[in-house]
Amino acid sequence: MPTTNSSLYRETVRRMLANRVGDSPDAKAIAKATLSIWHQVFTRLKPLIGPRGTNVLFARSLHLTGAAYPWLSMAVDHADSKDLLADIKTRLEDHAPDVARAASYALLTNFIDLLTTLIGESLTERLLDPVWAPYPTSSQKERVA
């Protein structure tokens, strides 16, 4: 499933997560950063592949992540993605920072891997890059302008 550049890509995602969490991470900060990333991912993907399609991908990633972190995938029963994310945030907060960070990272990479198997690496990166980028990319700036 993972493709050639995926380890490099995972590293980008890992670093981005670390960046957002800050220097002295506690579970709260990790949960907050996770929530904001997923909001961005959803904002990015929903117009393109539809809310339904995005939700299904997210549910599947959550299910896959449940193998290693069963407590995280307990949140799967929410119909609305907002409630679901809020629930995940609470669950992350309830765990030790290391565990919370690992679970959050696993969920993200599972989602990326899933999207990659469906639409390929180039397109996945193309669609999600703005989420990882610390600053808006040049093409984004133009669009905003």
């Binding site: 117009p47 592949i49 539809g50 399609g53 469906l118 639409i119 390929g120 180039s122 397109l123 669609l127």
Partner: protein, 487 residues
């Protein structure tokens, strides 16, 4: 102030499509692409979009209920025209499935116009349109009708200077959807399965403001995407496009590469003529054709052979094979059963131009008929006629072979009635002389030229065809049972 508006035509970049559209798509036109599932609608739309979208003229692709956007992105990127750099740069996909689910045309129209105001696209695609109509059965009271919806959408989009494509699934010609009236352009795709073959066809049913190429045109879908093979144009004598197509037939004659045959033809085959070599199996038609091409190569006249029958391992074909490998002649070798004649003609003309070929061999018409998809066989004769017209327009000299069942009761040249289409005919036959099979050949016709009328014996040797003397010692040989001429 009396000057007419000039309608810019967008060159789609889909090979062959612009030709049948009559020069491209009119800018700001409102087009509908219809066809059965699997006929290539979405592929055509995507190929046009990737070809035309630029940062200055971006495209918006609305996906509605039909094909999930994720799937479309997954499959469309398999095609070579798919350009990752254009995604979210000059091409944006917008999913409308939730707006459709709400079941109101008002809301849908609102959403579409809102998106268009935001990104002011030059190109708008709605896929699939059928699902729009389908879902709207349960509309709230007071909602606009489907007809109004389309009409308003059309007005809005042309006002916003967008060239638009609705992709739908209507195919019933007897019951045209009211939407078709509003559309400026109507492109219909279909795939016909007949017996064991599948053939794709495209037809421009309507294109306002310009003359399109009428009829059904075959197209193929490969890794490169869609390629259309326009029906070969038979040129009329009104002067339309005839300048390029009516080559000056020089008075020169082509050497056949078989000793004494040139004399029989009255000094070689006149340049630009089509020659039919008809004969039973094993009579040496392919050898004659090979000699014709080899002689051309020797004289610096490149050739192209369309081979439908023999395998390159056979000895005479080996000569061809060597010449092909050396790049001296072009080879179109095909046994696919899904071809249209237009597809072959297209490849042939391309190769003739590339090689600057002056000699063309089609070996054989019987194989040709087998190679074209069954659904084209009914029109085979008509298509041959068009092919000859195109080849004649290119100014090449054509030699084609035709397998002839040996019948001694009648004198026939071709099972397709194609004899009248050709300028010259050579017929080969077997005769029985003293319990031996011997081969004879004769020149039956060379249009506007004197030629020998003798029936001559010939042999096939390792060096090729050796033509002997006229058969004077026997008569009634075309009946298959010659009798010794009384002295």
């Amino acid at each position: 102030m009396s000057e007419k508006v000039i309608i810019r035509r967008l060159v789609t970049g889909v090979p062959g499509l612009d030709a049948i559209l009559g020069g491209g798509l009119p800018e700001f036109s409102f087009n509908i692409i219809v066809g059965s599932p699997g006929s290539g609608k979405t592929t055509l739309a995507n190929q046009i979009m990737f070809g035309l979208a630029t940062r200055e003229k971006p495209a918006l692709f609305f996906t509605v209920f039909g094909e999930p956007p994720l799937k479309m992105l997954r499959y469309q990127q398999q095609f070579e025209y798919f350009n990752f750099d254009k995604i979210d740069d000059s091409i944006r996909f917008v999913d409308l499935s939730d707006d459709i689910a709400a079941g109101s045309f008002d809301r849908l129209l609102e959403r579409i116009t809102q998106e268009i105001r935001i990104s002011t696209p030059a190109l708008v695609f709605v896929d699939s349109f059928r699902s729009v109509m389908f879902e709207m059965h349960k509309r709230p009271a007071g909602d606009i009708t489907a007809q109004q919806f389309i009409s308003r959408l059309g007005i809005f989009l042309s006002g916003w200077q967008a060239t638009t494509f609705l992709i739908g699934e209507y195919s019933s010609e007897n019951d045209p959807h009211p939407v078709f009236t509003i559309a400026d352009g109507l492109l219909s795709l279909e795939q016909n399965v007949y017996r064991n073959s599948m053939v794709r066809k495209i037809q421009i049913l309507k294109m306002r403001g310009q003359a399109t190429r009428p009829g059904m045109h075959t197209f193929s879908i490969s890794a490169e995407g869609i390629e259309v093979f326009p029906v070969a144009l038979v040129l009329d004598d009104t002067g339309n496009a005839t300048k390029a197509a009516n080559p000056v037939r020089s008075n020169s004659r082509l050497a056949m590469g078989v000793p004494r045959l040139d004399d029989m033809l009255g000094g070689g085959l006149p340049s630009g003529y089509s020659l039919l070599v008809a004969g039973p199996s094993g009579s040496g038609k392919t050898i004659l054709a090979t000699a014709f091409l080899a002689e051309g190569v020797r004289l610096g006249e490149p050739g192209v052979i369309v081979a439908f029958e023999q395998t390159p391992s056979q000895s005479w074909i080996r000569t061809i094979d060597n010449l092909v490998r050396a790049g001296k002649i072009g080879l179109i070798n095909t046994r696919s059963l899904d071809l249209s004649i237009d597809q072959i003609v297209h490849r042939l003309t391309q190769m003739i131009r590339e090689m600057k070929a002056t000699r063309v061999v089609i070996d054989s018409l019987s194989g040709f008929e087998l190679a074209v998809a069954p659904s084209f066989r009914e029109d085979f004769r008509e298509s041959l006629f068009r092919m000859f017209a195109v080849l004649s327009g290119l100014g090449v000299t054509v030699l084609m072979t035709s397998e002839l069942e040996d019948r001694y009761v009648d004198l026939r040249f071709s099972p397709y009635g194609s004899a009248f289409l050709t300028d010259a005919i050579i017929v080969q036959r077997y005769i029985e002389v003293q319990s031996n099979l011997q081969r004879v050949m004769s020149v039956v016709k060379v249009r506007a030229s004197s030629h020998s009328t003798e029936i001559r014996r010939y042999e096939i040797t390792d060096d090729g065809i050796v033509i002997g003397d006229p058969v004077l010692d026997y008569e009634a040989i075309l009946g298959g049972q010659p009798i010794r001429t009384k002295k």
